[in-house]
Symmetry: C2
Subunit: 232 residues, 2 copies
DNA sequence: GCAAAAGTGTTTGGATTACACCCATGC
DNA sequence: GCATGGGTGTAATCCAAACACTTTTGC
């Protein structure tokens, strides 16, 4: 049994890290920042910030996301908490990782006082990161893949209007597999999509039809039928 | 941009809560404690404790589990972190919930200085708990169910030697469904089990064969074949 | 014999797989 | 015309659900 005074426990710092994922040309990208200050100055890192003493984790995460991307009302998914006592050289900082799924074209990415540079990097080309951020990124990516398999979060990172091929590429990239085109289309048949009267433009092949996700009909299907989203 | 001094952030307390699950007569139980001190004295709660300033989250969780159950070398699964500023009346305590799966017969549950009582309670009969522990318990149970569907963790809560019917009851309880006996047995065919030369005793019906989980062959199947555990 | 649960086989329909084929566009 | 991807059909196979039936124990 420990005999340390309660007050001595109030010596931690707590932060939230936000892994922002997007999709471009079939590749899942992550938004990383190049740190503008020590420690790990000039090294790429996951955006994150300390949490205010009276701030909820959710609010802090939304604040961090907004400061970096100017996006609001994006769903934040909690992933994992990292509490190794030595993970931060300046003191004990416990961090809780989250991820957000955004459309890359919606983001007005910009440098800031704590980020001298900022860039979208394909998940398979991520360099060495600051702190334990490679570990955090990998485990957060694993949670994303889990969600991609069981929830329709893919539509949060695809453009509003997408082709079925883009959808397929996203899953192929995430699960590192190749799928048969015809079979993939049969598999996604139950997902309620809105078939738009629009086609791709300026492509050097037959232009593909555009679709968007029918979120309303999806909810209805879950409630009324026994429907469960399931990929892979 | 925040302008608060870095030192002001070191005003938190951090704790680990351990939801201990077991299985008895086909029902998933949780080990709860009746608090011996304020706040919430005499109220049921999830066991947990503050983390030492230089202690890793994993070590702290193992310590808490051992103090309560005298069990070591039990896998701890991280679930979710709760950081609402008002969740603890005595200060800002951020807690990270975990779960452990144990065999109820292995646990030497005992009261302690911080728990005047301790009991296994079926998940469907959990009373009002202290703090935000009902919320924590529910979300941790959801993570357990997720794991039950994709990893062979069921065998950590069943007796070493179990009947196929016990296995079925566990899944029926977790997913709140009824399964056909014959179909269930076909579904679990790919799971490598050791068929023991032993049977149930003192039952007033045909005694069932006992099995145990073949962890070694399971690992081999994953590595050599393309096998993926998948229930429900 | 009867109750209760163990344990197995058969049929059916729907989903998954592999593969083949035709279509529209830019160059 | 041809390269490139868009888009669809078919047949074989596997898998899941529904259901029926036999077996073994205690009382």
């Amino acid at each position: 049994m420990y005999k340390i005074d309660f007050q001595n426990f109030f010596t931690y710092s707590f932060s939230s890290d936000i892994v922002i994922f997007g999709c471009q040309e079939g590749e899942i990208h992550v938004l990383l920042i190049k740190r503008a200050m020590e420690p790990f100055k000039d090294i790429w890192a996951i955006p994150g910030d300390l949490i205010y003493p009276d701030e909820d984790l959710q609010d802090a995460s939304e604040r961090i996301l907004f400061e970096l991307t100017k996006l609001r009302n994006i769903e934040l998914h909690q992933a994992q908490t990292f509490a190794n006592p030595n993970r931060h050289p300046q003191g004990r900082v416990i961090t809780c990782s989250h991820f957000a799924l955004v459309r890359i074209e919606d983001v007005v990415a910009q440098a800031s006082s704590w980020a001298e540079d900022i860039d979208w990097i394909p998940m398979r080309e991520v360099p060495e990161l600051a702190f334990d951020h490679n570990l955090i990124l990998q485990s957060t990516y694993d949670v994303l893949k889990q969600k991609l398999a069981t929830e329709p979060v893919c539509f949060d990172m695809l453009p509003e209007k997408f082709t079925l091929h883009e959808l397929q590429l996203l899953y192929e990239y995430a699960f590192e597999i190749n799928m048969d085109k015809a079979n993939f289309r049969k598999k996604i048949k139950p997902i309620p999509l809105i078939s738009l009267d629009e086609k791709q433009k300026n492509v050097k092949h037959r232009p593909a039809k555009l679709y968007s996700f029918d979120r309303k009909r999806f909810q209805e299907k879950i409630e009324k039928e026994h429907y469960r989203f399931k990929m892979y």
